[in-house]
Amino acid sequence: MSVRDFFIKLSKIDRKYIYLIILIGLIIPLVFPPNFPQKMSPQVKRVFEFIDTLPKGSYVILSADYDPSVAPEVHPMYKAVVKHCILRGIIPIGMTLGVQGAGLAVEAFTEAERVLGARRDTDYVFLGYQAGGAVVILGLGEDIKGVYKTDYFGTKTTEIYALKPVKNYKDIALVISFSGSSIPVTWAVYAYTKYGVKVAAAVTGVSAGDFYPYIQAGQFIGMLAGMKAAAEYEYAVNQILKERNIREKPSTDAIRMMDANSIGQLLIILFIIIGNIGYFLSRRRK
């Protein structure tokens, strides 16, 4: 069988084998994670470096405006950014405009306690859910402790040590809205345009396209989009953990899933190439 016949045969494999290859191609990296080094793409780098270069003791609002349906892509971002802030001595103020985000955010802060020994109300604050959407965003511009009388756990915000010097957006270095919908745009319109606080978006891959116009208009300082951005950020934070030789193992969901995803996508590229070579050769033979 000549090389040409081999390639022609290769371009006519039965559909079922393609599915088998994809299945195996995805299972292997999930069980034996290759942990590819994740080089940061420009948008992610802007957000990462913005936080990395903030002075110790500055404040960042992390709004968990997402729900379980988009958790696989967005939740690892939230966990990574929380850890990143605490590692840099920056105090993340967690909150959410959607009821479903609260449970997920708590999980992220508990992991930070486990891995970094972070202490509630000193190293981080979690204010929980507040109804009202844009009204809440506006209110934070005036008086954060007025909008959130108590935090998620019931402690009076006026008594929280970490919140002592904080009044409104003037004391906040950055707001990041984590969402599967267009809520980050509401943050940009009300928090950035009206109060001038810097805003970044952390969204799903599919919805990333709708945010480009806002980035070009300068309303977002950067964007984390999709599983790829989650893996890049998670990888960078895990590097810092290694430098600090922190033994506790952090979660590597995004990295593992992104590695499997990349292999799957590379397999598709391989199929396109093989399909065409075989097709090309068989056409020339006619």
Binding site: I18, Y19, K228, Q265, I272
Partner: protein, 207 residues
Amino acid sequence: MRHLFEKQIPLALVFIIGIIMTIQYFVPHPTSQNVYDTSLMWSRAISSMAYVMAIISFLRFHTKRLKNKNYAPYSLVAILSFTAMVLIGFIGGTAKDSLFQKIYENMMVPLQATTFSLLAFYMSSAAYRAFRIRGVEATVLMITAFIVIFGTTTIGNYVPKMNEIVEWIMAVPNLASKRGIIIGVGLGVVATSIKIILGIERNWVGG
């Protein structure tokens, strides 16, 4: 007489309501606002009862298939699961931790997510089988897909400017083609709505 009820009155209804709703957009007066609110209230009420037709067709279709030997077990499963879900929903309630919610989260969501995830397999076989260089269009389609697929992998980050290229493709040429289609579709939607209101488009009353 029957013609009146079957065709004339529905067409008259669509004409009158259609004209009122079109003009209402241009009238800021509170009465126009009330007309708008009432129309939304009515359409929510009516469409909530349209679902009963889905139930009727579903039950009629599956009860008929019970007679057919090789479909019977499946249609039985469909009817039983339907009845069970309805009883559980109405008796057990649909609260956060109700059995109804548990069934939704542990049966319907995985069924839907898994069917959805089949698309990754189908995309692979479609890319393998159909992405052939057969003419300019197919080639352009394939190369762009190639670039974007590669650009959105981890390795893609290592190719310089790869992310910028993907972003540019999505933000400029892709946007131009989508806008062209949307404008065309917009014209089509307006034309059809006008035809429905003026009674030119009559398929929905049986042509």
